[in-house]
Symmetry: none
């Protein structure tokens, strides 16, 4: 990696155009070029956003607007959720400084999406659930909630700094894109229901725990094939029981 | 130094209250409390500033406004000028990351002022002239000029990191010791043989792939329990087939 062209900033349901404009400028300052908005809920028109984008007006204009999160991340080899909170399912949070070298490395193999949630509510648990990495900007204890544009700046800044320390990846197999990984998680969900590991009403909760384990490290295409094969075979074995009984 | 109470942010003739508000919030996020404005030239009233300060409204209200730069820095043991430009008088510029440890050290001995210039013109040469240190936020070449509030954020963020007060979130569940993990891998080996995912003579090879996936990240005790539970349940479901058939 010699640049950040594979880094994608994804804003989920942003409310204020001013933030989107400031983010465009921050991205341009740090050499990040791809901006996706998922179901934007802009309440104040685009005037403020265009003003604050300043000389990054082009980047702002070239933003992609999509209806669902899936469309924004399906081709990504890593999906990085940002959160101001700690707590359940958010234990594996690292700082941007800690995460940046690995993310630069991953960006050498494909698109890396950085997800930022709504100004008022952040990312929902099901959105956190599709993330392969979680990041939190460290703050003083008195006031932990960063302005959206400031959070994007800190993350882009750390990626920009980390560009220097890139080392080529060692995996032989390509990294699996989000769509492939999600397909795998669906197979596991079906299996775990089938074998009675979890009940339907606990499935969402339990799958977040499973997701957390499988998604902690980067999964290669080979990894995903192994995990799919295991799920398929166990599912088959469990179903034989019903057929033969 | 255990906090950033000796760090002072000094804005020289700022124009937009929105920036001052955003700066107040960024300062509060990073635990910096002292804000000085030198001869502020606010053109847009304070409404926007108060809105963007958000929960840092108190910090914004407690800002000191002074007529001259001298009043803002006279009691400081170090005066750090920030600049987007390189050039005459600006050769000794370092990045915030490089400067932060020394500035934290100096702040142990007295007030340290960080000077930020006008939104449109930055700091003048005579203002740069009174600085003991110079700092520049590294940027991509295409767009080197940061928004004022973003520049303050990056500098405060680096000071906060250098303070070392931040402690990364701890896993709530302890990391699983090797013995526990190995016990889990034995259960998976048995399961994968049982369900016919692999033959005995390929088991060693295949288990290395499985091991690689599960062992990539640190596994907590909770993770190991989940993975054991899955293996146990799938094994049970597969065995039912034999019993019932």
């Amino acid at each position: 990696m010699t640049d950040l062209s594979n880094i994608r900033i994804v804003l989920v349901e942003p409310l204020y155009s001013g933030n989107v404009g400031s983010i465009s400028r921050a991205m341009a300052n740090m050499g990040v070029r791809e901006l996706f908005l998922v179901a934007p809920q802009i309440v104040d028109g685009w005037e403020e956003g265009e003003r604050l984008a300043c000389h990054a007006y082009d980047l702002l204009k070239k933003r992609r607007e999509v209806a669902t999160l899936t469309e924004a991340i399906d081709d990504c080899v890593a999906v990085v959720g940002t959160t101001a909170r700690l707590g359940l399912y958010r234990q594996h949070v690292r700082t941007p400084h800690e995460s940046a070298p690995e993310l630069i490395c991953l960006a050498g193999q494909g698109k890396v999406a950085l997800l930022f949630g709504r100004e008022d509510k952040g990312l929902f648990n099901e959105e956190i659930g599709v993330c392969t990495h979680l990041m939190r900007v460290p703050t003083a204890n008195d006031y932990v909630s960063l302005n959206l544009a400031q959070a994007v700046m800190v993350c882009c800044y750390e990626l920009f700094l980390a560009l220097g320390s890139y080392e080529p990846p060692q995996e032989k197999s390509d990294l699996a894109p989000a769509g492939h990984r999600n397909q795998m998680m669906k197979m596991w969900r079906q299996l775990l229901l089938e074998i009675g590991f979890m009940e339907q009403d606990k499935a969402d909760h339990m799958m977040q725990g499973v997701q957390r384990i499988f998604a902690r490290g980067a999964l290669t295409v080979d990894d995903v094939h192994i995990l799919m094969g295991m799920a398929r075979q166990a599912d088959w074995a469990a179903k034989q029981r019903k057929i033969t009984s």
